[in-house]
């Protein structure tokens, strides 16, 4: 029983982390019809920023670092979008290829700058003590991570569903031409959404740091998880990304514990299942 509850919590925290990673991917895909393959690299960049900042400056705490890394990665993402992606508006395949090229550049740059050894990210002091709940002992940080993911989900929901900016983004998702025609600055929206998505990924990288730590190849480990989450949940659907993240969180955690060698195969079974019966994903509205 202890085993199932602890692993269940690990699944929830991984699911929360995956949501932070894939929500940005899903937002960007929904509005821009762009499979942003740099997303894993943005996440890794965040983790490295966090690991280095917390190692070298003892006064910082994890939350400030996460916000700072989010802002830096968002700015880098914005630059990339403005300088490169906008030039390729009419060439969707080209856009995907440059995001892939950018992912290679970032991951290799991290290797040059910070070397091949993994760098741990410390858990905040006040969260190191475990929490006791119903007679079980939980690592507090993982509980907080789940709470952050849920808060982010609510925040994004409010942003998309309840604000003027969100209304413009939804209009852009549903009919880009028409949105332009009624005066919505769609190309500025692209930049905002790309920054937002990149920023969430960067902050998520720091928050995931205490669990994953920063190491070369982190991007290549995270990107397929994000892809599987959004393919499963439905590309462009925030709710789909939320549900998909927790499904994959559970499958990956229990798969790794119960069948360590086969975890990767178990991971893509639900994806095959969903694609076979509902190619647009569980909650997808867009045709892929």
């Amino acid at each position: 029983m202890q085993f199932w509850i602890i692993q269940g919590l690990n699944s929830l925290s991984l699911g929360g982390l995956l949501f932070l990673l894939s929500s940005g991917f899903s937002l960007i895909f929904g509005l821009m019809r762009l499979a942003n393959l740099t997303h894993g690299a943005f996440f890794m960049l965040g983790t490295y920023f966090g690991a280095i900042a917390l190692r070298d400056y003892s006064g910082l705490n994890l939350w400030v670092t996460a916000i700072g890394a989010g802002i830096i990665v968002a700015a880098l993402g914005g630059l990339f979008e403005r300088l490169v992606l906008t030039r390729l508006k009419t060439n969707p395949l080209g856009q995907v290829l440059v995001t892939l090229g950018m992912a290679f550049i970032i991951s290799d740059a991290c290797l040059v700058l910070w070397g091949g050894d993994s760098i741990p990210v410390p858990t905040p002091h006040n969260l190191q003590a475990p929490t006791r709940l119903f007679g079980f002992v939980f690592p507090t940080y993982r509980l907080v991570l789940v709470a952050i993911a849920i808060a982010t989900a609510i925040g994004l929901y409010i942003l998309i569903d309840r604000t003027r900016l969100g209304a413009m983004i939804r209009a852009g998702v549903d009919d880009r031409q028409m949105a332009r025609a009624v005066g919505i600055p769609v190309s500025r929206l692209f930049t905002i959404v790309f920054c937002l998505g990149a920023g969430i990924a960067g902050a998520a990288g720091v928050l995931g740091g205490p669990i994953l730590s920063a190491y070369p190849g982190l991007d290549a480990d995270m990107l397929p998880l994000a892809l599987i989450v959004v393919i499963l949940g439905g590309i462009g659907s925030l709710f789909g990304a939320f549900i998909g993240s927790f499904i994959i969180g559970f499958i990956y955690t229990f798969g790794t514990v119960l069948f360590p060698e086969l975890a990767y195969i178990i991971l893509f079974l639900p994806m095959i299942f969903v694609i076979a019966f509902r190619p647009q994903g569980l909650f997808g509205r867009l045709g892929t």
Partner: protein
């Protein structure tokens, strides 16, 4: 003009092992392997309009199967090659069923996810694949008793394979089936209305491309006598895709030229810098931004622009 180029190529290809050193002969063998691989990917990207970012799966799986069959399970090379190719084709048939549920970006993401899963498996299932250590100590086959250990012998072997692959793939795309494939790429609805089955046409092409990817994988493992999970990585898929796009996708010889350039760049650059991935990324940005239609058409466009400017 075309015939002169062909004769020139034939003359160089035939004379090379007699005039060049082992380094260049080996380099040429690698080029033939990369060219077969790029040509097979081009069937999907150029002629089928299906941009796959997981083509390394077929190269890697065929190579791993051959390595495992010969070292771990004690098969001879003939049987091992047959099993590897059959296994790779079966996998392509299965992957095609999944990936072709989607088109465009969805297809790209699914192929990428599938290949990343295989890459992860090669790393994690270290009980079978040796994980990060790779499988070393492999041998080359000796078809009809002819040893392929010397660079020149392997050169002739891979040249023969490349010629067969080129001819077979040319026949494939110039056949009636090839025309229907191009039709499905450009006008899937119209083709469906005409009574063709776009899905089946794409799937057959997908499996055929997987088959040639597998052949490239066999040659790859014979050449290197070693296999490592990186051959299944996104980098490996991306190199081939870069070759296809750089050379000009949808042309017959373009991808072979592109693959040659990527391989030369990789060999030349790695002698000076360690940062191949970064260079690959930069070349990607450059090609897509400056020469999106490929190097040959891109150079022509650039030249005509330079000519026009002074006037």
């Amino acid at each position: 003009m075309k015939w002169i180029a062909l004769a020139l190529f034939a003359a160089v290809a035939l004379l090379l092992p007699f005039v060049a050193g082992d380094f260049y002969v080996n380099l040429a063998s690698q080029i033939f392997i990369a060219a077969i691989f790029a040509l097979s990917l081009n069937l999907l990207v150029g002629f089928g309009g299906m941009t796959s970012l997981g083509h390394a799966s077929y190269l890697g799986v065929a190579a791993y199967l051959s390595a495992l069959m010969t070292t771990r399970y004690g098969f001879g090379h003939g049987a091992a090659a047959l099993i590897s190719i059959l296994g790779t084709v079966a996998m392509a048939a299965f992957f095609g069923l999944i990936a072709l549920r989607a088109t465009g970006l969805g297809f790209l993401m699914i192929t990428l996810a599938l290949s990343q899963v295989l890459w992860g498996l090669a790393y994690r299932m270290s009980g079978i694949t040796n994980g990060d250590n790779g499988i070393a100590g492999l041998t080359r086959p000796a078809p009809f008793g002819i040893s392929l250990e010397s660079p020149a012998a392997f050169y002739w072997f891979s040249l023969l394979a490349a010629i067969i692959a080129f001819v077979m793939m040319t026949i494939f795309v110039s056949s009636a089936f090839g025309s229907s494939l191009k039709g499905v790429r450009d006008q899937p609805r119209r083709m469906a209305a005409l009574g063709f089955n776009p899905w089946m046409i794409r799937w057959i092409t997908f499996v055929y491309a997987g088959f040639w990817g597998g052949i490239a994988g066999l040659l790859y493992v014979y050449y290197n006598k070693y296999i490592h999970p990186t051959s299944l990585s996104t980098t490996s898929s991306a190199e081939a895709l870069l070759g296809v796009i750089a050379g000009g996708s949808g042309t017959l010889a373009g991808p072979a030229v592109g693959a040659t350039l990527v391989l030369l760049l990789k060999n030349y650059a790695s002698a000076y810098v360690e940062r191949w991935n970064m260079l690959l990324g930069l070349v990607f940005l450059f090609i897509v931004l400056v020469m999106p239609t490929g190097i040959v058409p891109g150079l022509q466009k650039l030249a005509s622009r330079l000519w026009r400017r002074p006037s």
